[in-house]
């Protein structure tokens, strides 16, 4: 089957199946049966053994549908690929097929209240106990944890070595009685994320991913996959939608209003054309790498700019308009999640422009002697 045939078949299948159900697990099972789950994953672990080309073709066809696969996105985008790269065969055998079939939901447990941008300074401890491990600590900013069966958990296992060298990765059973999932209310008043508390949670050693104290190496793999998923999602910038909505809501006969809308158009076109150029480069085999961070940074700024502009143009009514109030409340999310704007600028500066790094004070000090989190 060549790529065009593949695409046609996908289109037909989606037309017949995409809108048939809202149940995520049921839909994933059908996706798996039809051969559209794990398209690039090896056949041995339940995948289809195809290439990026087929995966992109399917994604392009699927873009027109709101597929109910959100709760599996962390597992499929980050946890699964990490196990493929760094797990044992026993782990792959146990975990990958149920993930692809929609039988088990995964979440990712890296960030902590004291370790955001600087994930490697995390403090959740895993201590050896016979053949297994006992975990205590707290994670935060965890999507879909309330649905999750398994979590990919990064812990500290040695405080006597520098921070990157004392971490270990595990698969944790989210149904363990010591795991508490609490929704985290954010500034929009809604709960998009969770806090997770670990209270003497036991994990068998066979659920360790990678070597003891090599957790950072494993996490880098996961974060690379995360960055790929984010930059794939970038490009949906809401600038154009807001322009359409605002031109109805405000007086474009006022030249100042008109000029503000032109500015919004300019910024949103500039970013959307940049995103399209990155896509074309990717299709041509030029992997954008860290340049994707520029698109992420620009989207974060455009999102803030757009919500601010919309409320300013509309004026007093915007504070009692549900849509505008939600927009201005949600606007900071893109600038904070998936790496703050400052982190993005560091990445662009160091990995795209190859500027010299900051002097690092935290790479050689034993973790126990390092300042972390929030302290005087």
């Amino acid at each position: 089957m060549n790529l065009d045939e593949y695409r046609s078949a996908a289109r037909v299948w989606l037309a017949a199946n995409a809108d048939r159900t809202d149940d995520a697990r049921e839909f994933m099972a059908r996706l798996y049966d039809a051969g559209y789950s794990g398209i690039t994953w090896p056949k041995r672990w339940g995948g289809q053994g195809l290439t990026q080309a087929e995966e992109r073709a399917f994604a392009a066809e699927a873009r027109d549908y709101a597929l109910p696969t959100y709760i599996f996105s962390i597992g499929l985008g980050m946890c699964g690929p990490t196990l493929l790269d760094r797990g044992t065969d026993a782990q792959r055998e146990r975990f990958l097929r149920p993930l692809l079939r929609g039988e088990e939901v995964w979440c990712q447990l890296f960030s902590e209240p004291g370790a955001g941008s600087d994930v490697a300074s995390l403090q959740t401890r895993a201590v050896r106990d016979g053949d297994g491990w006992v975990v205590n600590g707290q994670k935060v900013w965890t999507s879909v944890a309330q649905h999750a069966d398994w979590g990919l958990l990064l812990t500290r296992t040695d405080v006597d070595v520098p921070k990157h060298k004392g971490l270990t990765m595990f698969v944790v059973d989210m149904h363990h009685p010591g795991v508490t999932v609490r929704p985290l209310k954010d500034m929009t008043g809604r709960s998009h994320f969770n806090e997770i508390f670990f209270d003497d949670v036991t994990i068998p050693d066979k659920h360790r991913v990678g070597e003891v104290n090599d957790g950072w190496g494993v996490a880098v793999t996961t974060l690379l996959h995360e960055r790929l998923s984010i930059s794939a999602g970038v490009g949906m910038g809401g600038g154009a939608d807001w322009l359409a909505r605002l031109r109805e809501a405000v007086d474009t006969g006022d030249p100042l209003v008109r000029d503000q809308l032109v500015e919004l158009h300019i910024r949103s076109r500039a970013l959307s054309l940049f995103n399209q150029r990155l896509s074309q480069e990717t299709r041509a085999g030029l992997f954008p790498g860290a340049r994707g961070s520029a698109a992420k940074l620009l989207l974060a700024e455009l999102t803030l700019y757009t919500a601010d502009l919309a409320t300013s143009l509309v004026g007093p009514e915007s504070v009692v308009d549900e849509e505008l109030s939600h927009a201005i409340s949600l606007a900071p999310a893109m600038a904070l999640g998936g790496g703050t704007n400052e982190i993005m600028r560091n990445i662009i500066g160091e990995r795209v422009l190859n500027l010299p790094p900051e002097p690092r004070v935290d790479k050689t000090v034993p973790f126990k002697d390092l300042k972390v989190g929030t302290q005087q």
């Binding site: 941008s117 500034m187 300013s312 007093p316 109030s325 409340s329 904070l336 600028r345 005087q376």
Partner: protein, 348 residues
């Protein structure tokens, strides 16, 4: 021109600041707090002339107080009541001024120049008012509403008993969680015409004073936001260093400080103009809203962003400042209206 606070003003600031220190913006309107603010501190009568039982202070003093209530995000009708006192002082009404000065009565205002579709057919002091006000600040908590009403001889300021017949108040869900708004529908609501209408000039002056008063609150919001993030930048660590040691944070905070310095200068100037140089007031007032409104939002936004993830949580206060800053920026109309007013005054 006086841009520096005097001894008395500094003492007033210290008193108010220490009073507000223990309060949380999340507690909602607490009448017992207002009883002490108006009683012990006499703030409801601060700018009301002594002949009506007030302290007879000026906008300079009111600005000092509003900067503190802004910094504390004091919930409830403090600003609304202060704006009402400003309006009442322009069209002096003994009964209402005395009641507000003594803290017996809380008033609020509807937007003054235009913006109101209220009408009345009456020609004397009493009026039956019809119309709808889409958004009135703290209308749910206030006793009396002051609103511009169109009648045969032009616009008059009318006082309406919010608990009276013909008044329907519907609370609105607002962005700013620390300041309520309500829709007010008037169907033959009884009102009393204040002053000697038409009072276009008095209402114009009141509007300018509103702009200065709001800018003072915004200055407080800015200052508190900047202080919060500066404090956090000194205790939060990333990559083994306090985040305030990174130029990415430090330089942004420096720029925020520059905005605060300029905003304070403008607020002091506008308050001085209100008290001492009425001819400069309109331009100073438009300048105050045009500069301080924007600067306040930018500082509050950047203070939230620099907090990182924790700034996005409901439990942290950062979003309360961010939302107040946005709500304040548009409170007296879309920001461009202040710039347009300034352009007119400069005869550009």
């Amino acid at each position: 021109m006086k841009l520096v606070l005097g001894q008395d003003q500094q003492e007033l600031r210290a008193t108010v600041r220490s009073f507000l220190a223990g309060l949380s913006p999340r507690e909602g309107h607490r009448p017992e707090v207002y009883a002490r603010l108006n009683g012990e501190l006499g703030l409801s009568g601060l700018i009301i002339p002594e002949e009506y039982g007030g302290a007879g202070a000026g906008l300079t003093e009111l600005a000092v107080v509003l900067e503190e209530t802004g910094a504390a995000l004091l919930p409830g009708p403090f600003l609304a009541n202060a704006l009402a006192a400003i309006a009442l002082t322009q069209v002096p009404d003994k009964e209402l001024l005395t009641a507000v000065a003594e803290g017996r009565l809380t008033a609020t205002v509807a937007p003054l120049p235009g913006g109101s579709d209220l009408v009345t057919a009456s020609r004397d002091g009493e009026a039956l008012v019809d119309g709808r006000l889409a958004q009135v600040v703290n209308a749910g908590e206030a006793d009396v509403l002051l609103a511009p009403v169109t009648r045969h001889d032009g616009v008059a300021l009318v006082a309406i008993d919010l608990a009276g017949e013909g008044v329907t108040r519907t609370p609105l869900t607002t962005l700013d969680l620390t300041r309520s708004q309500a829709e007010v529908v008037l169907e033959g609501a009884r009102g009393r015409v204040l002053g000697s209408p038409p009072d276009g000039i008095a209402l114009e002056r009141a509007w300018n004073l509103f702009s200065v008063a709001l800018a003072a609150e915004q200055l407080g919001v800015m200052r508190a936001s900047l202080e919060a993030i500066v404090g956090y930048a000194k205790i939060r660590v990333a990559f083994g260093r306090y985040i305030g040691s990174y130029q990415g944070v430090k330089h942004k905070l420096a720029d925020m400080h520059c905005k605060l310095e300029q905003a304070e200068s403008i607020v002091r100037y506008a308050a001085w103009a209100a008290d001492e140089s009425p001819g400069e007031l309109p331009e100073a007032a438009a300048l105050a809203q045009a500069y301080v409104g924007r600067a306040c939002f930018e500082v509050a936004r950047d203070h939230l962003l620099l907090h990182g993830g924790i700034g996005f949580t409901w439990e942290h206060d950062a979003h309360l400042y961010y939302k107040r800053a946005k709500a304040d920026e548009v409170l007296l109309g879309p920001p461009r209206t202040h710039r347009e007013r300034l352009a007119d005054l400069l005869e550009l």
